[in-house]
Symmetry: C2
Subunit: 413 residues, 2 copies
DNA sequence: TTACTTCGTGAAGTTTCTTGGGTAAGTTGC
DNA sequence: GCAACTTACCCAAGAAACTTCACGAAGTAA
């Protein structure tokens, strides 16, 4: 029997208020009452409780509007912390963040490479302890660990389903083992979904749009979709497979089995391959062509392009154009009005990609007729996935709109 | 200030219970308690209230399981009714349905043609009154009118934005004027979204999947997306523009401004045009080539294909293949596990389309790796949009998960 | 008939909000 | 400088929607 969690009662209200304070940064009780529709009395009681719990603190007063000044409230950002890690073959990134989503610590370590998951899990636990020691966070304030992984996965089960980071990881009970090794609640989700949530969570003043898509480029290309502040997962937590959206059904075959996938044209590996085919360019940029060095080779090409090199610029523009084609489709299907570019793939040449993609979207007839679509570059960059994974745990803690509460079944099988 | 309605309190619980009874068909209090997580006492009280209001009736008893038999509950289907209309240039379809989503009356009338909206609205009011007289529904039980329209629109504002049914309708305050003319609450949404909701609402035993997409083919091709029982609208209530998803960026130009759109290959107009180019076939099927007769010409071709005519079959298969390409993309982006085909375009040859599309989906690598995607043909066919539009009003009445309740702001502007 | 199970509901308590009535802390006008 | 007004915040009592506990009604099994 499938169950839908319908929140109700105090936990929901409390977390809504907390979320509102977090998003606003500083806010008064009166504003909370206006925004929430609750009475000032109710807000007063709820806020008192959160202050007692140490989640909220009073920080000064607002301007008087003809009477008593409003007491301003803020989230006590150090009341809770979360850890996040982006699982990656090349390089792992561990972050710790506070309740505001602000990164308070970061370390990076060797990627999974071809190691077995059974060997990597204890290493991760050690590295996470090192991060905690480094940041001097009170361990009791840590609410959990979020894990961002590339490739298809089963988020509820906490299991990877694809060939990432390497085939040995498939069906390994990752979440369970990590929870055992760290003693923390662990949640697993795709890097793109995590990055999307990271963008959303750390953007002050809340959602600018009810629907938000974040294109995440690392080795592959994925897309995280946020609807009403929550990750849209689809039927099996694998929505937003932008990288394997087919641009040309008669195009070159992809490892995924389809043809003409976005990744074949726009992923770092594809751009590097195209650059290597240009002997002169490959020599000029000192490209290695070593598969594990793809990311740094790609960075060289992008930097060369931003510095005005024609050959590099052509390659990057072409990749951006192809990616843009996929994004146009995505925007059409989901009726998006904002798209974020995030992840290590956009770290150096994000502006270049954004410009090309924005041009394509502006040419879109729908865009002209109904509303525009804006392309923005991530403000949290390379750490987006890890930070988003951590934010996912914080969201559970502070905004448990989908966790706490009464359960009502929406469908029987 | 944008506000998100967060339901809470009794209205939500009540409507959840009502929805559960509706979906189950017949259900006992004990089962409701188990499914909802509420106590039997609470269910008892809520059910008593709904019985008093005439929304629920007791209908016999279940088998004893060793003690007192369970009293079975059903929705009193005639307690509420809703009207729905699918706006169309060629032919308008009006339906009335009861609380179970069962159609209890249907009339069709001349389409909007090139008439001005100011002239059509009073005619619609007259035709709706005729439908009410015909069905002998108690007018006080009618909760509202749902309007399904092709093309881009602004659902909250109740205004059409595109060139459908004809350019004069653009920006006409349709919802407002219809509400005035009929004295009913009116809601406007895309035909595809309505059809999707119709499929969902009238399918007993509730959702088989949390995400459900319905491809709707009339003159154009659209797609309605249902997430957790509610229509997914995107940023501007125009999500699911499958018809203008580009299959080939270098393809033929489309009236929408883009190139290689699905509609150019798969819409009835495209199939008829291809058939007209084949002189022999056009003569054999007695095709007119008259734009306003496109739908019947298309039907002839599809029927000829299902009867085994090679030339027709090739044309229809090609259209289905192209549509399938778009659906594959859609399925990838949204991570769907079920797709419904609905609308007049699939009335005759739905099975043929379904077969070709299913084949394509089965070849999809993702489908093999993670989960299968099933294609099913609508069981409510040509009336899907109108019926879904009506269901939209019923959903508001019986399942006001998004309407009644406390308001909490999720974002400030 | 007796013992047991199961369904449905009444009575009383809990939680979460509301309404109504203060009190403290400001500003404004004379 | 003081009265009059505004505004913010909070206490007390009450309403609504649940809960737990208890019990009678309706059924089965030996």
């Amino acid at each position: 029997m499938s169950r839908v969690v319908v929140p109700s009662g105090g936990a929901l209200t409390r977390s809504m208020i907390l979320d509102r304070i977090r998003v606003a940064g500083r806010i008064s009780r009166v504003e909370l009452a206006e925004a929430s529709g609750l009475t000032q009395t109710a807000i007063s009681n709820i806020v008192r409780q959160t202050i007692t719990d140490g989640l909220v603190i009073e920080t000064g007063f607002g301007e008087s509007t003809g009477g008593k000044r409003r007491t301003l409230l803020e989230i006590n950002v150090s009341a809770r912390h979360a850890l996040g890690v982006s699982l990656d073959q090349e390089r792992m990134i561990y972050v710790a963040c506070d309740l505001s989503g602000q990164m308070v610590g970061r370390i990076s370590a060797a990627g999974t490479g071809l190691e077995q998951p059974g060997a990597v899990v204890p290493r991760m636990a050690t590295e996470l302890r090192a991060l905690l020691d480094l940041t001097e966070i009170d361990p009791s304030s840590v609410v959990g660990l979020g894990v961002a992984s590339p490739g298809p996965l089963n988020s509820p089960a906490g299991v990877l389903l694809g060939r990432q980071p390497n085939p040995a990881w498939r069906d390994f009970p990752l979440r369970e083992e990590l929870a055992k090794a760290t003693g923390l609640p662990v949640m697993l989700d795709s890097d793109a979904s995590c990055a999307a949530l990271g963008e959303f969570w750390t953007t002050r003043n809340g959602a600018t749009s009810p629907v938000n898509a974040t294109v995440y480029m690392a080795d592959g290309i994925g897309c995280g979709i946020i609807v009403d502040g929550r990750v849209f997962h689809g039927a099996s937590s694998n929505a937003g497979e932008l990288g394997h959206l087919s641009l040309d059904v008669d195009g070159p075959p992809c490892a995924c089995g389809a043809r003409g996938c976005v990744e074949l044209y726009a992923a770092p590996r594809a751009v590097v391959a195209a650059a290597l085919a240009d002997r002169e360019l490959a020599t000029a940029l000192d490209l290695r062509g070593d598969p594990v060095r793809t990311r740094s080779d790609f960075a060289r090409i992008v930097r060369s392009a931003t510095h005005g090199d024609d050959a590099s610029l052509r390659l990057v523009t072409e990749a951006a154009r192809r990616l843009g084609q996929g994004i146009v489709t995505l925007g059409n299907v989901l009726d998006l009005d904002e798209i974020s570019l995030s992840g290590p793939g956009f770290a150096d040449g994000g502006a270049l990609f954004a410009q090309v993609i924005q041009q394509q979207l502006d040419q879109l007839p729908f865009t002209r007729d109904v509303h525009s679509v804006a392309v923005r570059i991530s403000h949290i960059g390379t750490e987006a996935a890890a930070l988003g994974a951590a934010a996912r745990m914080l969201q559970q803690e502070v905004t448990p709109h989908t966790r706490v509460g009464r359960r009502l079944t929406s469908a029987a099988r």
